[in-house]
């Protein structure tokens, strides 16, 4: 059991994730109710002020980067918890293992609570498009710790197989543009993570509770569980 808090920027978006799985599950998933939002003045029923209504929101993204679903945090005179745009409670919405969340926080903070997932997470990707992938562990992970699979291994005799950059991870800016990009190579020249200039990038870190924008080309990535 544990919890961890992340502060958000005063403006713009961030790719975040839960850092724990729900208590009682073993598949790495969490629920929105495992996430609570703070950093605002509490609602005062006497003065009828304070609280927050929807300024913290979580978006699920499609493979083309559009919004698939959006949920808002409320804590005011009418309701507390997660709701969709129609005011329907969303506390039980499940966040799958390694789910990346596109978050607009407006200077608030998000606390993730639950149990530490002790199993590796294998994330399949579509043959085209992107996927928001989160480091849903409470510890940082380096790119070198991610194992990309799903392609024929390189055969030096036949000089075929392997993969050269079809799997890539992007770190996004607060406005959703690409800040940095790293490619997975496993071919006749090199194996591992490299940037666009061919510089080895295995030491680049995905901080705990954050996420990356992944273009997977139908491959899979395994995120290792932390050694506790």
């Amino acid at each position: 059991m544990g919890y961890a808090q992340q502060d958000t920027a005063a403006s713009g978006f961030a790719m975040l994730s839960a850092q724990f799985e729900s208590v009682g599950v073993v598949d790495g998933s969490a629920k929105l109710s495992d996430l609570t939002i703070g950093g605002y003045d509490a609602y005062d029923p006497v003065e009828d002020e304070g609280g927050t209504s929807g300024s913290f929101r979580i978006q699920f993204l499609t493979a083309s980067g559009t919004m698939e679903a959006q949920y808002f945090w409320y804590d005011d005179d009418e309701k507390t918890g997660w709701f969709d745009k129609d005011g329907i409670s969303a506390d039980n919405v499940v966040l799958g293992a390694a789910k990346g969340l596109w978050v607009r926080g407006a200077g608030l903070s998000m606390t993730s609570a639950g149990a530490v997932n002790e199993s590796d997470i294998v994330v399949p990707t579509a043959s085209s498009g992107f996927k928001a992938v989160g480091n849903t562990f409470p510890l940082n992970v380096k790119l070198s710790q991610l194992a990309v699979t799903g392609y024929d291994p390189y055969d030096p005799v036949e000089d075929e197989g392997g993969t050269s950059g079809s799997f890539r991870v992007q770190f996004l800016t607060a406005s959703g543009t690409m800040e940095a990009q790293y490619f997975w190579y496993d071919d006749d020249e090199k194996t591992g993570w490299f940037d666009k200039d061919g510089i080895a990038s295995g030491n680049v870190t995905i901080p705990a509770g954050t996420g990356v924008w992944v273009r997977g080309g139908g491959l899979t990535v395994r995120i290792p569980a932390p050694e506790l």
Binding site: G50, S53, G54, S55, T66
Partner: protein, 187 residues
């Protein structure tokens, strides 16, 4: 056919240049008259989101004063309804492919049933290349010095402006006819 093709192309370009999705809210925008937070002191009306680069706050105020608000509503980005001072939440609209400056206007009535307008301060519409952008007005009341506030002297010093009493249409017609009659007599 050629004209149709050009029109279609122009439409596609228009959409391409203005295709970002946003959600907006003034979700906790409780608008009071400054005399307390009872329901009776809250305003009701329709809220409109404007791109400040398209229509200025001064233009909106002038249109309100001249009873020509309808001419400005064609350029709104989104609308919402205030009920007892609270705005609807997270309506969606299509906006610019870049950050932009927006403000919020409520056309409604004050506690005495007079036409009134509320104009907010500007805020940033945050474009997102991934996901859906956001335009947001936080919890403020009309007396707050942050967020919703005056753009000129107005009702009770708040962001509300009571309509200037105007001559009725009948009175205007009467004045016009009197003017014509005077002119004919002089001729």
């Amino acid at each position: 056919m050629k004209k149709l093709m050009i029109l279609l192309a122009a439409t596609v370009v228009g959409f391409a240049a203005n295709a970002a999705a946003y959600s907006w809210s003034a979700s906790n925008g409780r608008l009071f008259d400054g005399q307390g937070s009872t329901t009776a002191n809250r305003y009701a009306g329709t809220g409109y989101l404007f791109n400040a680069a398209t229509v200025s706050q001064a233009e909106i105020l002038a249109a309100f004063a001249s009873d020509s608000v309808a001419s400005k509503l064609t350029s709104t980005l989104a609308t919402g309804t205030f009920s007892a001072g609270r705005a609807s939440v997270s309506d969606e609209f299509t906006g610019p492919d870049a950050n932009f400056t927006a403000y919020f206007v409520v056309f409604g009535q004050d506690g005495s049933g007079n036409d009134a307008i509320y104009i907010s301060d500007t805020t940033t519409g945050e474009y997102a290349a991934v996901g859906q952008g956001a335009v947001e007005f936080g919890q403020q009341n009309a007396y707050s010095s942050v967020g919703f506030k005056d753009v000129a002297a107005g009702y009770a010093g708040a962001g509300w402006y009571a309509a200037v009493p105007e001559p009725t249409s009948g009175l205007l017609l009467l004045l016009g006819m009197a003017g014509l009659a005077l002119r004919r007599r002089r001729a």
